[in-house]
Amino acid sequence: MIDFGYGLTPSSTLKIEDVRLPAFGELLRREPDAAKCIACGSCAASCSAGVFTEMNLRRVILSLQRGREKETLPLLRHCMLCGKCQLVCPRGVNTRHLILSIGKVYQLEEDKR
């Protein structure tokens, strides 16, 4: 192999059809509210941890649906479970249980790997 001083860069495109989401299915079983998010961002805007960190529940939920949970799961480490997001969510998503459930489902996936 020759080093030309440049090389192929990996594609940033989400190949959504390749994304199999068994973990998300399990999450929906535990907390069906995961499907209700309309990405309004209230949760992220009001987040107590968000004042100090990048924590953004909207983005976490979205990343799970796109099979890119690795990018956002670490954010959940900052969550203080204070429940403000639950109070502001216009769709009444049980965000605290959702966060706890994400931990249970996806950490399990992580452990399997």
Partner: protein, 338 residues
Amino acid sequence: MSQNVVVIGGGPAGIEASRKLRDLGYTPILIEKEPVLGGHLARWDRLFPDGVDASTFLDPMIADLDGIKYFTDTEVASINRLKDTWVVKLSNGLSAQVRAILLTTGFDLFKAEKKEEYGYGIYERVITNADLEAWFKSGAAPQFDDVKVIGFVHCVGSRDEKAGNRQCSKVCCVTAVKQACEIKEKFPDATVYCFYMDLRMFGRKYEDLYLKAQKEYGIRFVRGRVSEVSEDLDGHLFVKAEDTLFGKPMKLKADLLVLMSGMTPAASTQQLARMVNIQTGDDGFFLPKSLIVSPFTSSREGIFFAGAATGPKTLPETLSEASAAALAIDHYLKTLQR
């Protein structure tokens, strides 16, 4: 002998207005260019938000046309002003002299093939909302049996200056959500994606439908406009869009893509506008006197509108406008007599 009123366009607006005019004691002359009455509604299967069969509305309307002279397969040849009346000549050789004309010419579905990048008419697996309704209505077996991933493209020809339509077609968002749920019922194992720019769930119970689509049907909503579609070796589709909420370009390999064709002014709009010398807006729809207080009155004496001829509208809006226009015509004719 009761007074004649010409109603041009035999869709729901035309039929409803004709019935109301007849009830008010006039003899409507209803003109429809297609062989059957009912307009787009006649080709539609079920209606949002509750999924009621379209025929449950249309059939009783069409069954109740006593006292209305209607001509199908007929177009307007010319309209001329003669003193304080309008002389309408029809393509079948008949003509009528009336004091009031109601334009219920409705809309045409945007020709999805104009959005060349989506490949409608080129890729077999790209269909439109109208095709889907026709298939639902026919009750036929699906054309493709290996449908596992389905995409819905919102705003095809709507909010698109390049496609010549800046306006929002209003009904496509909720129609897409309705159709997404329906198709999920037909293909329960399929994953259904809706690619939207904004979701405009403005009507009563529309938001409920959206929630149901998310929660019960598991429809996946992606905020991002489809940029291009291509075909792979076995005829399946590659759909490119950006997931704007996630901030990444995305690619979907789909087995079926449904284009939500928007509403454009009916082809006859410009022609009729010239015949009676009235204005159309930048968007090509008839321009009423005021969009707020008299959306059914034109700038010319005796010319009235109802329904989607003055812009995209839902069915209930169209029907109530039809009634309102009938009353406005009645009021106008009575004022003339006094």
